[in-house]
């Protein structure tokens, strides 16, 4: 399966990728800015994400909340998201509204600051604080995606600190911080614009030149701190969290090859063999056979710089201790490392990943997002069309080599959630004695 891809650059550095598909009169626009929480400076954690909120608050030519309203009025869907390495903004609209969307995106790339006010910043800061409470603090296990990178990356590494950030840092952020972040990172030469769906390429190109062309290049961004890390953690890492949860949950993480590398595809196949759907090893053993776990999965973070994370998680059945569960997970990992995987298991994983990929490519928004991803990280959107062959190129020896190199005792980090009530019963005295 191949999708058509056309790619070019404006003189200001904006990287554009286009993929036509006229099945339905809809079109997706997707912008990746190559900035994420990894680019934040000390004392300004959470800033990339807070900034994502500010991009919906109006600009020189667009009023507060008008961005959302304009696109919804067009009959479109939209959102934005922030991750460790990038921030993206995306819309899918009826195709006759493409130019309006390009205009809106160009406007907020070129003319955000005149519309920025202290009042808007204060308001969105409070919205973000509520987002943190909602998605993390008042949600069982909600803090895992903050705690796991903190455990697995050294304190000086750009992936170590929290993406949503500390509430203290957010409170301290000033309007000048916002402006400076914008000038540094929200520039055409630090962005990829992708369009997928029903459009005329010549007209789209002309519109892109018209709206984005006059926006000047940025001053250049400060280099990221050194992202490189040894291939393994080097020692066993562990954090135990006594939380308001009903069942224990174990996250077992491994330092893993970066997204896009040959070894990454072997890691993905390995994750599917261990933890994808119900025919995977962990489900068959922990959920179906031994009935120690309520659910289980394995996945990668898909980070493209320095080192990725390979993660297994499982939730304990009532009455099963976190130690038992963790031991059972590690027994499966050790067995895989010792005995290797079969060709049949590799073929199963490839079939699942292939059909999932085709399924996802049905959506214009997903196509545009993938184009932006490969253009941002590798400067080559056409890599989208190579994904299936890269998965198919992996054989059992590749998976075994990955497992031997990366799933050993010297590369494991455990983040364990334990119900607070049970913990209180178990350890009431030691806490006082240590204090």
């Amino acid at each position: 399966m191949q999708i058509p891809i056309e790619t070019f650059r404006l003189t200001n550095g904006l990287h554009v990728t286009l993929s036509e598909d006229h099945t339905a009169p809809i079109v997706a626009v997707n912008l990746w800015y190559h900035v994420g929480s990894a680019n934040e400076r000390d004392g300004l954690t959470g800033f990339a994400h807070l900034f994502e909120h500010m991009l919906f608050q109006g600009s020189e030519h667009v009023g507060t909340n008008e961005h959302f309203e304009t696109i919804q009025r067009a009959g479109g869907t939209l959102n934005g998201s922030t991750w460790l390495e990038r921030t993206n903004y995306f819309e899918t609209v009826p195709s006759n509204h493409l130019e309006s969307i390009l205009w809106l995106e160009a406007d907020r790339m070129g003319f955000l600051l005149p519309g920025m006010t202290q009042q808007k910043l204060d308001l969105q800061r409070d919205v973000v604080k509520n987002e943190r409470r909602w998605s993390m603090d008042n949600q069982p296990y909600g803090t895992w995606w903050e705690k796991l990178p903190a455990l697995c990356y050294p304190p000086t590494h750009p992936f170590h600190h929290s993406l949503i950030g500390s509430m203290e840092d957010l409170s301290a952020a000033s309007l000048e911080d916002v402006a400076s972040f914008f000038r540094t990172y929200y520039t055409p030469d630090n962005a990829v614009l992708s369009i997928a769906g029903d459009f005329d390429p010549a007209q789209a190109r002309a519109a892109i030149e018209r709206y984005f062309g006059p926006i000047p290049r940025g001053p250049g961004k400060p280099p990221l701190r050194d992202m490189s890390l040894p291939p393994v953690l080097g020692k066993r890492l562990r954090e135990t969290v006594h939380d308001d949860v009903a069942l224990s949950r174990v996250f077992l993480a491994f330092r893993s090859p970066v997204f896009g590398s040959d070894e990454y595809y072997a890691a993905s196949i390995c994750a599917a063999i261990l933890g994808m759907r119900r025919g995977c090893r962990l489900y068959r053993s922990l959920v179906r056979e031994q009935q120690l776990a309520q659910d289980t999965s394995a996945f990668t973070y898909d980070l493209a710089k320095g080192a990725d994370l390979f993660v297994i998680d499982a939730t304990a059945r009532p009455g099963v201790s976190s130690e038992t569960l963790e031991g059972a997970i590690e027994a499966e990992v050790d067995r895989l490392r010792a005995d290797g995987v079969t060709d049949e298991e590799v073929a199963r994983a490839q079939a699942l990943l292939e059909s999932d990929f085709i399924r996802s490519m049905q959506s214009a928004g997903e196509r545009a997002d993938q184009l932006s991803r490969f253009a941002t990280f590798f400067d080559e959107p056409r890599l989208v069309n190579e994904q299936l062959s890269r998965y198919r190129a992996i054989n059992s020896a590749d998976v075994d080599a990955f497992a031997r190199a990366r799933l050993g005792q010297d590369n494991r980090a455990s983040l364990v959630y334990i119900p607070r009530v049970a913990a209180d019963v178990e350890e009431p005295v030691t806490a006082g004695a240590e204090a």
């Binding site: 099945t23 009169p25 309203e69 409470r133 000047p216 059909s355 085709i358």
Partner: protein, 471 residues
């Protein structure tokens, strides 16, 4: 700075939209197979992929009293083994084909779904037919699924969103309504389910003559019909009798229900009452009215609570569409010290939409959003198949998709006002809050909705509202 200023001067004016290009929902054809099963095929050839959905009239409303959760367990048990192979083998065979498979029950129906590449459709369909038509219901796997559901219920006690949804239904509906109890059952009712209950529900309601099968994707109608006829050749049975759904509201006096979650940093709010059934002459008016009230990001409730007051990360309202009257609910999570203030704003917005005509701008925002987004909803074969299955389930008629946009666009501001007055009733609204009871109780008493009753996370009334904190 000068570069920016120059760019500002030259930024072109906002473009006007071009002429909309025509869109038609994928064409579909209906056949009745020899077994009496209804087959609908919607060819869609964008990518080499096919989705299949089978629905039978065996949703949670068919649960016997005291065995709530039976329908959900029965549907889930389809994946746990057939006469020919055990559940693990079934999963492995599907997955070797790259197939993605599901089996579950909602309020109205049980649904089995399959999405697979065109090249693997034939063998995957044979497995799918085996799963739907000859399940073996092994006792060990039923006990495992029951234990997993029990564990889920235990988890729900610490999960404020799910807990708020579950208890809001209990406070909105009459106790004799199936809708007042959790869709997938409670600890007692799940424990009561036995193997023979599963077998009986299956044999009485999973029948070919009452089933609808939808195929959407890279196939022709004739090929699909032949494949389905072959794969499902042995499945039989007459259509089951329809279920009478009791959807009556609670008769209890109005009160505010606090579910105590000690030290919760946020309050989960649910404010609502019994809504209307999916088949209702006011359906389109209610959909537009709800979009303006709280259905869209740019709706009144979200703009008020999030963008004006920053009480929350998000707030929305929703009519849950079922064959019976599902709930109308406003949902949000707010900082604990904003709990009563948020409830007051929601009540004000409900009053306002019942009192004044909405602006033209608000009306056209809702109608142009709903009609514009229509094609975006049907990008995938699974979405097309699900939409057609719903059309059959609710008896919407084969012209439903063709007339959807004109039905939306014909709604007027007067229709919206009338729909709000008829289908939103402040006097019937029940408020459920999962939050830190001691700190929110007093301000909720001042709302004058009614007396405050405090519950623990098991839904048991707590005398003074402090037990959860002391425990």
């Amino acid at each position: 700075m000068s570069a920016r200023a120059a760019a500002t001067a030259t930024f072109p004016p906002r473009p006007r939209p071009g002429r909309p290009r025509p869109y038609a929902f994928p064409g579909f054809e209906r056949r009745t197979l020899s077994s009496g099963m209804t087959l609908i095929v919607a060819p869609a050839h964008k990518l080499p992929i096919v989705s299949v959905i089978a629905i039978v009239d065996a949703g949670a409303v068919s649960d016997p009293v005291g065995r709530e959760g039976l329908a959900a367990l029965t549907a889930a048990m389809l994946s746990e083994g057939t006469a020919a192979m055990d559940g693990e083998t079934l999963a492995l065979r599907f997955e070797r084909l790259g197939a993605s498979v599901s089996a579950n029950a909602d309020w109205d129906v049980a649904t089995a779904g399959l999405t697979v590449t065109r090249e693997n459709l034939v063998p995957a369909l044979a497995l799918f037919a085996d799963m739907v038509g000859s399940p073996s219901f092994p006792a060990r796997e039923l006990e495992r699924l029951k234990a997993e559901r029990m564990a889920e219920l235990l988890q729900l006690r610490t999960e404020p969103r799910g807990l708020a949804d579950e208890l809001a239904s209990r406070f909105i509906y009459a106790p004799e309504s199936r809708y007042s109890r959790p869709e997938a059952g409670s600890p007692g009712s799940v424990a009561a389910v036995e193997g023979r209950d599963v077998g009986e529900l299956y044999s009485s309601r999973y029948r070919a003559a009452g089933a609808t099968l939808v195929v959407a994707g890279d196939v022709t109608v004739d090929d699909a019909a032949q494949l389905i006829e072959t794969a499902f050749g042995t499945w039989g049975g007459r259509a089951p009798a329809p279920i009478h759904v009791i959807d009556a509201p609670t008769a209890a006096p109005r009160s505010v229900h606090i579910v105590a979650k000690a030290d919760a940093p946020q309050s989960e709010l649910r404010l609502g009452h019994v809504g209307i059934p999916r088949i209702h002459p006011d359906y389109f008016r209610v959909v537009v009215m709800n979009a303006v009230l709280g259905g869209l990001f740019s709706s009144r409730i979200n703009l008020n609570l999030r963008e004006r007051n920053a009480f929350t990360y998000g707030a929305h309202s929703e009519f849950d569409w079922r064959r019976g009257a599902g709930p109308f609910l406003v949902s949000t999570a707010v900082a604990s010290d904003k709990t009563a203030a948020a409830a007051r704003e929601i009540l004000m917005e409900i009053d306002r939409i019942r009192t004044d005509l909405i602006d033209d701008d608000e009306l056209t925002l809702a109608t142009s959003y709903l009609s514009g987004v229509f094609p975006i909803r049907y990008e995938t074969t699974a979405a097309i198949a699900t939409a057609i299955a719903n059309m059959v389930l609710y008896g919407l008629g084969d012209s439903y998709f063709g007339s959807y946009r004109s039905n939306i666009q014909s709604v007027t501001a007067a229709d919206v006002l009338e729909a709000a007055q008829r289908h939103l009733d402040p006097a019937r609204l029940r408020l459920t809050v999962v939050g830190d009871a001691p700190s929110i109780r007093t301000e909720l008493e001042d709302l004058s909705i009614g007396p405050v009753i405090v519950y623990d996370t098991d839904g048991v009334v707590v005398a003074d509202g402090t037990r959860a904190r002391e425990a």
